[in-house]
């Protein structure tokens, strides 16, 4: 039977990372993936990633996928696409459906990196066409170039719900409402703020009562819920939508491991049923490893590190490296992994009510409920300063593992320090050149350049802008505040695009100086055009 040192099931971030790492140590590796494209979820991720340089921060997800694939190819890893692994059997044998046949392979080690599948939530009408998973919406848009609908309701305010809502806006859809039964936004505040300033309304403590329509979704009824998740009478409201996206979490796709007889555990913090495994991802079956979402739902960044650890562990298991090498390399990777798992959004903090940042700053409740800061709140964060002349205003208020802004500034105006989750601090003594590198580098689009002395009575604000068509210099329109309300007329005075910005354009608008700390988005006024 055809045999490899390592068979990897799933060419997503975890699987490809494992394959790359194992191949570096000389293992003969094959990767099977049922999709036509490699990269798993990475190829749908058009947004810039969080993290630090070593986690490929500020790089858009799909580019990370391409990089990994290229590395794998260069190392001689065979990546077989359109190849569905049908079963995992005794003696580390798999069967793979390739075209119209079934083929048998054996691996001296096997890594299962099959990822996760979207959860659903049932409500009246949930089986109508038009109710889809947020991931499905992302696949339609970003892989197939099809918008799922025109008027969208997103259920779920975790990062998936927030990121996909933003991508829906980018694709030209209207996000009519972002709804979550929880009383607080579950994902990063910066992701929420990106939506709020375009005018997307947030309905926290709300749930879907029913999807309306007979043949497809034509509307939705939502209502407020109390602390016990019961709907409050009299709060129901109907919204006209044609699509309801569900972003209510993911469940590990651990079927192959279950059918092979791995010992499983039920772990709500990992998203459901996962194989029991050791620190290197080895399951109860010797030589069968797991990495990525299948072993516990997390982010792609952590999946890549887990994959690398499992790849190295497979190399050690097969005698390609000594235990000492494994221990040393894995230790470094584990520390990188644990740095990603720090901060307010760490697994152990899920469900906790965190009122202050590590530094002692009060977390904005308004941000958590509405998706944006009240004007007065924002100025107390260490990234927000009032200075004469152009300077960065960093509206970053949560301890999340991300630091590209620190590296982006050529003049070292921005300091995060060694702890990746610390809030960025703007150094008032450093001299901002207004280059905008930080604005484009911030994956959360939370950095603005403000110049209150732009010209008499007017300030300029440089905002990150990722929508098409891109406004031109001289265009006039409205400045929107953080909540998406029009606050004043605005004129585009500069538009910068550069390869280094990677498709984040910098739009500089001119507004009355009183609006310098209010206006955060630009909306073209088509009547003026």
């Amino acid at each position: 039977m055809k045999r490899y040192d390592l068979i990897v099931v799933g060419a997503g971030p975890a699987g490809l990372s494992a394959a790359v790492e194992a191949a570096k140590y000389g293992l003969k590796v094959v990767v099977f993936d049922e999709n036509a494209n490699p990269g798993g979820q990475l190829f749908k991720q058009v947004h810039k990633f969080f993290g630090s340089k070593e986690h490929k921060a500020k790089i858009r997800g799909f580019r990370i996928g391409s990089q990994l694939l290229e590395e794998a190819n260069n190392l001689g890893v065979e990546v077989v696409l359109n190849a569905t692994v049908a079963g995992l059997f005794q003696d580390k044998e798999i069967t793979v459906r390739i075209k119209d046949s079934i083929q048998h392979y054996k691996g001296d080690a096997i890594l299962v990196a099959t990822g996760a599948a979207e959860n659903m939530v049932p409500f009246k009408g949930w089986t109508l066409p038009g109710v889809i998973g947020a991931g499905a919406a992302q696949t339609m848009m970003n892989l197939h170039g099809v918008v799922p609908g025109q008027k969208i309701l997103m259920l779920g305010s975790g990062n998936v719900g927030l990121v996909v809502s933003y991508q829906l806006l980018q694709a030209g859809c209207e996000v009519v409402a972002l709804v979550d039964a929880a009383p607080k936004i579950g994902g990063y505040g910066v992701h929420a703020a990106k939506l709020a300033r375009t005018g997307v309304p947030f309905y926290l403590s709300h749930t879907i009562i029913k999807a309306e329509g007979t043949d497809c979704v034509t509307g939705v009824t939502i209502a407020e819920v109390d602390k016990t998740w019961k709907t409050i009478p009299g709060t129901a409201k109907s919204l006209a939508v044609d699509t309801i996206c569900l972003a209510v979490g993911l469940s590990p796709m651990a079927q192959l491991l279950k059918m092979a007889g791995c010992i499983m555990e039920d772990n709500p913090k990992k998203g459901g049923q996962v194989p029991v495994c050791n620190a290197y991802g080895e399951t109860s079956l010797r030589g069968v490893f797991v990495a990525g979402d299948v072993s516990g739902v997390e982010e792609a960044s952590s999946a890549m590190i887990e994959g690398r650890i499992a790849g190295i562990a497979a190399a050690e298991y097969l005698g390609y490296i000594d235990k000492a090498v494994l221990t040393e390399v894995a230790e470094a990777l584990e520390s990188a992994l644990s740095s990603l798992r720090q901060g307010m959004f760490a697994v152990e903090n899920r469900g906790k009510n965190i009122e202050k940042t590590d530094e002692g700053y009060v977390v904005s409740q308004h941000l958590l409920k509405k998706g944006y800061f009240q004007d007065a709140e924002v100025e107390k964060y260490p990234g927000v300063t009032r200075q004469p002349g152009v300077h960065a205003v960093i509206e970053c208020s949560q301890n999340i593992p991300c630091n590209p802004c620190q590296d982006a500034c050529p003049r070292h105006c921005i300091k995060i320090g060694d702890k990746i989750t610390s809030l960025p601090v703007v150094d008032e003594t450093a001299n901002c050149s207004g280059c905008g590198m930080c604005v484009a580098a911030c994956s959360g689009q939370a950095i603005f350049l403000v110049n209150e002395g732009y010209e008499a009575g007017y300030a300029s604000i440089t905002i990150p802008y990722e929508f098409l068509p891109l406004p031109g210099e001289g265009d006039r329109g409205w400045a929107l505040d953080r909540g998406g309300s029009k606050v004043c007329a605005a004129e585009v005075v500069k538009v910068q695009t550069a390869p280094v910005f990677d498709h984040t354009s910098l739009l500089t608008i001119k507004v009355p100086v009183a609006m310098a700390m209010k206006a955060r988005f630009f909306k073209e006024d088509n009547c003026h055009a």
């Binding site: 079963g87 005794q90 044998e93 069967t95 079934i102 048998h104 059918m259 007889g261």
Partner: protein
């Protein structure tokens, strides 16, 4: 120690559940102990659902015929839920003259015992089931055979027995039967001790090690058998199907899916890793077998395969027997992969043994002590 009950049944499969039901009908207090967390987790939910008389060992045939005549036709009504019993006959197919010889032999010994079963030509077989391939040259035909849904039949007995007051306790691994003052009385599990005036052992292959605790043995092995299930299709045919070479067997369920069992030829020697895991080569082999007889099914999707253990007795028929040397003990095991169709009959007979009523059928052939050296 749990309070003493009238009857303890070890094994919550269809034999245990059916026995419990017939005992509960008489108002007898029964406790059923099942090792798995699930009722009917062994062969009871891992079989092809045949309710077949043809092809049976002559010693077992009366049990099958009794069930088809007296129990199966009214079982759904009796148990208050549809067990999907369909009595549209059994076709056993042959593709070669050698196959037909096998079928003739099987047929003759059943005819001798009064079963309506006969050899038919290919054309008649195709009139009964129009989807057969041209390779089929003849078949044996038993019009009173049929099939039922083993998952539902097992759970229906359980549900009704439970409603009648039988206590079912799952996750209860029986370690030992202990004699007290000369009678089988205590059942010791990982969690505690149960006491019963009568103990019925119907635990499939696991019966063997439990029997060992009272100094008994039934010679049997266990083999792993596999079944596959397709997506639902519009109704095509109602017959139970088999082949002379046992390439596959099965039927179309009420739901529309086809349920086909089969073998790769390595069933006796398959490696056991502790879970009934399927072998990589079996389902493809069953598929090839099916397509030779039913080429029309080639585009139908397989959604699931599973494996299960069958307890194969040394002479290929079960033990259904009181154990006089261990008074109070009754054994029902070793069903050898064809226990489902006769399970209701066996449940009735074992219940009769346990309640001191003369069984409606003679059980002499199924004695526990029938296994003798060959010379």
């Amino acid at each position: 120690m749990h309070k003493c009950t009238e009857v303890i049944i070890i094994g919550g499969g269809i034999i245990g559940a059916a026995t419990a039901y017939y005992l509960a009908l008489q108002g007898i207090k029964v406790v059923v102990l099942e090792k798995s967390d699930n009722i009917g987790d062994g062969g009871s939910s891992r079989n092809g659902g045949g309710v077949r008389q043809s092809g049976r060992d002559p010693r077992e045939l009366p049990l099958a015929m009794y069930g088809v005549q007296n129990i199966w036709p009214t079982l759904s009504d009796e148990l208050g839920m549809d067990v999907e019993y369909v009595k549209e006959g059994n076709l056993r197919l042959g593709k070669t003259e050698q196959h037909l010889n096998i079928l003739r032999n099987l047929t003759k010994r059943c005819v001798d015992l009064g079963l309506d079963v006969r050899m038919i030509e290919a054309q008649e077989a195709r009139e009964i089931c129009p989807y057969l391939s041209d390779e089929v040259i003849g078949a044996s035909w038993c019009p009173t055979d049929g099939h039922a849904n083993p998952l539902l039949a097992t759970l229906a007995f359980y549900r009704k027995a439970r409603a009648l007051g039988t206590e079912f306790i799952t996750g209860e691994n029986v370690l030992e039967i202990k004699k007290i003052k000369g009678r089988a009385r205590q059942v010791i599990t990982a969690n505690g001790i149960y006491e019963g005036e009568t103990i019925i052992l119907a635990a499939g292959y696991d019966s063997r090690k439990i029997l060992g605790t009272v100094g008994l043995d039934v010679p049997m092995t266990k083999i792993s058998l596999e079944v596959l299930v397709t997506e639902a299709q519009p109704k095509m045919f109602g017959q139970m199907l088999g082949t002379a070479m046992a390439d596959f067997y099965g039927h179309q369920s009420k739901h529309g899916s086809f349920v086909f069992g089969g073998s790769s030829g390595f069933e006796d020697t398959n490696k056991n890793n502790g879970t009934p895991i399927t072998a990589s080569i079996t389902a493809p082999c069953i598929c090839r077998g099916i397509m030779k007889y039913f080429p029309l099914l080639k585009d139908v999707k397989i959604v699931r395969t599973w494996a299960g253990w069958a307890d194969i007795s040394a002479d290929k028929i079960p033990v259904i027997s009181p154990v006089e040397e261990v008074p109070g003990l009754i054994v029902a095991c070793g069903f050898t992969g064809h226990g489902f169709g006769i399970a209701p009959t066996v449940g009735l007979l074992v219940a009769q043994l346990a309640s001191g009523v003369k069984p409606v059928l003679d059980l002499a052939e199924f004695r526990y002590d029938r296994f003798k050296a060959k010379i």
